[in-house]
Structure formats: C-alpha cells, structure tokens
C-alpha cells in the first residue's frame, strides 16, 4: 500500500473539505428553467407545455406552473423560449415538502 500512497502524493491532493466552496463546475450543469414573466405569453406557455417531455410545465389560466420535481433539465424549453426562458443555475433542490418544488410564474406578456 505504500506504493499507492507515494504514487498518490505525486499527483497532489485531489479532495477538499465539504463544502469548502460551491464547485465552479456546477455552474455548467443543466438546470431547471427560469422564466421572464413579462416575456411569457399564453401561446408560448402552451407550446412549452406541449414540448416538455416530462410534463413539468403547464398553464393554469394566467400562470405558468413549473414542477421542478419533474424537470430533467433537458433544455427543450430553452430552445423554444425566445428570450423568455433561461437556465436557472439552481441545482440544490432538496426540500422537505414536495409542494415547494411547484412554482407559479404569472404570464404578463401579450400574444
């Protein structure tokens, strides 16, 4: 085992205390979308709802309802969003109440 110890030392220390800092690589991870309320229209939300493969997005009257618990960060809504959708960058999603993962965003734009 001394052999492995010295070989390991030659490569330097690879670990840090957790959580020393947020790993900068995390910023690159796919994340759930964030929406610009003013740029959302009912037509756009309906299209997003149709294209979302996991059913994470739907429209309830004048609200877009996003279930972050269903979102896989596939990025299809970003391609369709025309500036109304961007990656949220949020990936620490642990909650104690499932309902806290469901978000309502008012639709303020006009078709």
């Amino acid at each position: 085992m001394a052999f492995w110890f010295y070989r390991g030392l030659r490569r330097g220390i690879a670990t840090t205390r957790y959580p020393k800092t947020v790993d900068p690589w995390a910023r690159r991870l796919p994340s759930a979308p964030a929406f610009h309320s003013a740029r959302l229209t009912a037509g756009l939300v309906d299209r997003l709802a149709r294209e979302c493969p996991t059913g994470a997005v739907h429209r309830e009257d004048h609200d877009l309802v996003l279930d972050v618990g269903r979102c896989t960060g596939c990025g299809r809504c970003l391609e369709l969003g025309h500036g109304a959708v961007r990656p949220s960058g949020e990936f620490l999603l642990a909650v104690t109440d499932r309902a806290a993962l469901v978000k309502r965003i008012p639709i303020r734009g006009e078709d």
Binding site: M1, F3, W4, F5, R7, G8, R11, A14, W25, R28, L29, P30, P53, C74, G75
Partner: protein, 507 residues
C-alpha cells in the same frame, strides 16, 4: 472495412444478399421453416442470432422477427414470421442465445416456444395484477404460471442478495445457491427495474420518442439512442449529414471511455482496493466533467437526435481536458496491473469460455475478452462516423482480468478515434419525414452491439419499438461465469467486470 465476402444464399429460396445490396434485408418466411433457416444461417454462414422479438398488428396477429448478424458480410438479415396461434418454433433448442427473448415474448405476447421447456421470469413481476401492462394490445389471455421453479436441494440453500444492494448498485435480486462458499447456481431477477419504455414509446413522434429511448439505459445513452435513431432513419430513408456522423462518433467514444473508467473503478471497489477505487473515481469525475464541457451533459443525454445531432462538440474543451484525464487513467492502470492483491482477484475469476461466448452470441468487451473479434463499428459500418475503423482488441482468457485489459485497450483506441473525428464534427440534422416504414438500427455501445427496431405508422409516429441494449444480450452469460468455480466474494468482481446495466436489460 470488412471484405463483404461471397453472397449469402439460404436454402435456395431467395434469402439472398447480393454484393452491393442493402446492409439490411428483410425476408418473410413461414413459421414451419424458421428453425431450419436459422440452423442453416448459423452453420453454413456463421450468422449470429442478434435478436428475437415479436410485434402485434391491428387485428391482434403476432409477427415474430429474428435478426441475424452476418458480421463477415457487414449485413443484417431479418426474418419475419407471422404466427398462427400462440406457439412458435423453439429457436433456443438450436441456439441457446434465443432463450431470454423467448421468455420475453411469452411474457409480453403470450406466445411460447413449441416445446415443454419451462421459461424464466424476465420482466413481469410475480405479484403482477391481471392489468399489468404488457406489449400485446389486444389480449385478455392470462399468463399461465409456466415458470421454471428454483431448484435447491441437498445441503444447498438459496442465499438472497438484493434487490436493494449497497453502494448504489442497481436493483437486482441474486439468488445465490450455495452450500456455504462456492456458488453452485445463480438466479437473477431484473424485473424490479422494468419501466415499460418500449410501451411508452408508442404513439410518439421519433423526436419525442428519442427522449425516452435515451433514458432506457442511461449509461449507454449514446449507443442505444444511436441505434434507435438509425432505425428511424432507415425506416424513413433519412441521410445523416457527414458532420453529424462525426459528432455521433465523438460522443460514442466519450461514452465508451467514461464507462470503461467506471468499470475499472467498480473492479477496484470489489477487490477491496479502496485507494485504487478513489484514484479511478477521480479519473471518472474528470471524464464526466469533460462530457459536460464537450456536450453540455455529464452522461451525454440530448446529443443524438433522429436525422443527426442536436449539439456539436466543444473541440477546445475536448482537446484541453481529454489528454489530462487519460494521462491520469494510464497512471492508474499502470499501478493496478502491478498490484498483486488486485490482479490475483481478477485472474481466473468469472471465466466465460470462447465456446460459451459464441454459443450465447455475446457482444462487446465481454465477448472480445473471450476471443470473439466482433465489433459493430467495424463489422457493420454506416458511413461518416465509422471511418477510421476501430482496432478490435481481443483477449483469450475470458476472465475478469481479460475484460479489464480489453477495456483499457479500448480507451486508448477511443482517444485515437476521437482525434480523427473531431476536426470534421459539426452540428445539424436532416429533417425526418413523418412517413410509414420500418427499420433496424445498430451501434457499438460501450457494452457491445445495441440494436433497435422501429415500425412507424402512417403519421410517422412509433407503432412498435424494440430496444435491445447490449445488456439484454450479455446478462445471460453472467450466471455461467458466476458458477465457474467462484465463491461469494467473486460475484461482485464478475458483475463489475461485465459492467452491464439492469436498466438496459429491464428497460
């Protein structure tokens, strides 16, 4: 590229694959001739039974399809056989490779081989209700409980292991039949992981179906999705742009590299070499970050799409990160191969003989480690993404060490292939027409040849999809390997060296 060789003719009845003809030929045959043709293809033409599955039509009629790989001729042959009733010729009597598929057809369609052999449980759980969804659409028939019982007698007992297992391994029940130490027999239950993905694909357009197909076996997402998309492209006559073909090859090789590194990490874990495991997991994390930087996803989801690719590789990131990660991998492997406690545990463990590998039509590194020089990239090239051809590395040992050596060699070759494709890789996809058709697709995933069959309805949506990841093929050799004079503690080592997924099998 392989020399196409002489044309294949079977039984003088027109199953003739002429030089220059399509790489896939479909032939309709009568049920009564299936066994005879299958035998002739195997014996006279060296054909490998690559898949066997069923499909039901609008009136409830069931069609059996057997797929033969003529590796020397770079062709696949699909025999279609409409069933009359709920019996079909037992191909597994001639070709043991067909047994798992026969069990699956029984579970999903209620048709069973015409023999007295009892079948194994594959994907349908024993406590299922009568409404448990199956692939057959019009069928009220209940399954007979026609399953092979577990036979444990004398001094032996069945030691249950799983389906919940330590260290994040997938759900898998192993019934280890033993008298205390040596494994006499092994029963596997993979159905805990069954998600009915093939059924879920029905009615979806190919683009939407791809999203689900790539999640059937997340660790082989590129290979399996590539097979699925190629099937759609064949069904619709879609030509993939050359830059997209190169991008697909880059993603496929990145997937191979990280999977083989993960297998090495798992082998270290199972031999108890925790320091080696830690070092190999550092490499694995580097490779997953490389995937993220190159294609925007650690497990390369969302890259492949019908007709091409959705993303292009980040060339600069790959050129910057890949050499460093592989340098670390080589440094690790050099140390592993001179660490006696590790090598001794792998040597002579989980032996798959060349005869068994051939008999069971195994694929991928498991087959190549048992002397079978098969690789779909070389044997069944499809165009831009398959040139240059891979170097097919084989070993003769058939043990866990041979499998590790094959994987290490393939990592080196994958780097060469990525370098060759990177300069020409680009984005783009040819639109897939929404039209009726059927097609077969294939790819050499990290675990071996992945196949997919797709039938599209008049609106271009999926009417029937068959996904056959490499894991479906290779799990059948696991119990043989586990029985070959191994003890309890060898089983995790064998599992790591096979590096299969339950998700791919149970999809």
């Amino acid at each position: 590229m392989t020399d196409p060789g002489p044309p294949t003719t079977v039984n003088g009845e027109g199953v003739a694959l002429l030089p220059g003809s399509d790489r896939i030929q479909t032939k309709r045959v009568e049920t009564t001739r299936l066994a005879e043709l299958s035998h002739e293809l195997a014996v006279d033409h060296g054909a490998r039974l690559a898949d066997l599955f069923a499909e039901d039509g609008p009136d409830g009629e069931v069609t059996l399809r057997s797929v033969y790989a003529l590796d020397g001729e770079s062709r696949y042959l699909v025999l279609e056989c409409p069933l009359d009733g709920d019996r079909f010729p037992p191909l597994s009597d001639l070709d043991p490779a067909a047994f798992v598929e026969e069990c699956e057809i029984y579970e999903q369609y209620g048709a069973r081989p015409e023999n007295r052999k009892r079948l194994n449980r594959v994907l349908v759980p024993p406590h299922r209700s009568d409404r448990f969804p199956r692939l057959r659409r019009r069928d009220g028939r209940r399954l007979a409980r026609d399953y092979e019982p577990h036979v444990v007698s004398g001094e032996a007992f069945e030691f249950p292991f799983g389906p919940v297992r330590a260290a994040g391994w997938e759900s898998l029940y192993m019934g280890l039949v033993t008298t205390g130490e040596e494994v006499l027999d092994l029963y596997l239950f993979q159905w805990h992981k069954h998600r009915g993905i093939e059924r879920r694909l029905r009615g979806l357009d190919p683009e939407r179906a791809t999203f689900f197909a790539e999640r059937a076996d997340g660790l082989s997402s590129v290979g399996d999705t590539l097979a699925f998309c190629r099937a759609v492209e064949m069904a619709t006559g879609t030509e993939v742009p050359a830059p997209a073909g190169h991008t697909r090859a880059v993603a496929l090789e990145l997937e191979r590299i990280y999977n083989h590194a993960a297998a090495v990490a798992a082998m270290c874990q199972t031999t108890g070499l925790s320091v080696g495991q830690a070092r190999s997991e550092i490499v694995l994390e580097q490779l997953l970050r490389l995937n993220l930087a190159a294609f925007g996803h650690r497990y390369l989801f969302g890259v492949i799409s019908p007709g091409g690719v959705r993303r292009e590789p980040n060339v600069d990131e790959i050129q910057a990160l890949l050499p460093a990660a592989l340098d670390e991998f080589r440094y690790l492997v050099d140390a592993l191969l001179v660490t006696n406690s590790h090598v001794d545990r792998l040597e002579s463990t989980g032996v798959v003989t060349p005869e068994n590998a051939h008999l069971l039509s195994l694929v991928g590194p498991v087959a190549r480690a048992s002397g079978q020089a098969i690789d779909a990239r070389r044997d069944h090239p499809t165009g831009a993404g398959d040139e240059p051809a891979p170097l097919v590395r084989t070993q003769d040992g058939g043990d866990a060490l041979a499998r590790m050596r094959v994987m290490v060699d393939e990592v080196e070759d994958a780097e060469r292939l990525i370098s060759a494709h990177l300069g020409e890789a680009g984005a783009g996809a040819e639109p897939v027409p929404l039209a009726e058709g059927a097609g077969l697709g294939w790819a050499e995933s990290p675990r071996g040849e992945a196949l997919a069959w797709v039938s599209l309805d008049a609106g271009g949506c999926i009417d029937h999809a068959r996904l056959r990841p490499a894991s479906v093929r290779n799990w059948r050799a696991f119990d043989d390997a586990a029985r070959a004079q191994n003890v309890f503690t060898d089983i995790p080592i064998i599992e790591a060296s096979f590096w299969l997924t339950v998700a791919g099998f149970a999809r």
